[in-house]
Amino acid sequence: MTDSERLLHSRSFVELGARQRARALLDTGSFRELLGPFDRLMSPWLPRQGIVPQADDGVVIAKGKLAGRPAVVAAIEGGFQGGSMGEVGGAKIAGALELAVEDNRNGIPTCAVLLLETGGVRLQEANLGLAAIAEIQAAIIELRAHQPVVGVIAGSVGCFGGMSIAAGLCSHLLVTREARLGLNGPQVIEQEAGIGEYDSRDRPFIWSLTGGEQRHASGLVDAYVADDVEAIRSQLLALLAAPSAQRASRHQWFLERLAQLGDDCPQLDAAAVRALYQGDA
């Protein structure tokens, strides 16, 4: 196949909305949405602050099958309020994960996939969003003891804030080149560190440090795939069958690597970060 034929046959995953993404990953015909938009479970806090709400609060929860195994998919809509986690959307994800844990206790091996496009907590909902993120993190840890929890960061929003910690807790992480993963977003770092150290408008610089390719080369995610529905789905199925790298329990190894740098180390570039994180635990 020539490059142009391949391009014409590929279906972009990044360009899909949250609901289309969940549908594209689950086995054909198995998609069943829980608490859908017509249930109108919306944020009660946004309209009070003059902000238009969305009927599903930007979170799609779908039950279905992944290569025949029972699964729940939680997809965040990055277009709505930057995919921010509010009280309702956060509770939908936490509740879905908790029900998957209950499934496992009852002998149903439900696994979970999180489609993460989020800037983190929704500032307008403050502590309620933070509490929801804490519940999501606790539920991920509980569920991953039974069945894999796979985080997918496709882009273009990326995954930041408290939800980047949730991503780090997943059994596996899958990214594309469009993805970014980091605790603070570029503008926050620029504000804190100064534009000389971190220019948030310098996109190649930002992606060189927090982009999917760099995160994969640094060993911080498990799979790096092209932005293509079939490629992402087949890689997701492969990860579901693979043992987890259990990165979150290796924090000591990462801390030791960082301690080697000393107190007065110059700013690292992408290659230096890759070199720092090489090797086995």
């Binding site: 938009p37 017509f38 003059g50 902000i51 238009v52 969305q54 009927a55 809509e77 277009g79």
Partner: protein, 99 residues
């Protein structure tokens, strides 16, 4: 942000439901459901204040000369232009037509 309500005469309730669009910048979300016989009810929640006349004219132009089923339409608008609004509504009507 403001909430606007519109009502148009219609025939029997339509069938099927549809959701199109998303509350992202320059876009809108449209939820279409069967309504009460004889009435097409639209509620618009929009981020743009003072846009009552524009929405009213947009709906009149869109529905002019059409036989409308009775529907309940919910719109969550995040600054969509009239062109985008019209495309989304047509997309929604097409989707309930498919069911």
């Amino acid at each position: 942000m403001e909430t606007l309500n519109f009502q148009f005469p219609a025939a029997q309730p339509g069938r099927g439901r549809a959701l199109v669009g998303c509350v992202s910048s320059g876009d809108l979300e449209v939820l279409i459901e069967p309504g009460q016989a004889g009435s097409l009810d639209i509620q618009v929640v929009t981020s743009v204040n003072g846009s009552q006349a524009r929405w009213s004219q947009l709906f009149q132009r869109l529905f002019d000369g059409r036989d409308l089923p009775a529907l309940k339409i919910d719109i969550h608008d995040f600054g969509a232009t009239p062109g985008v609004v019209r495309l989304r509504l047509e997309q929604g009507f097409e989707e309930i037509g498919h069911d």
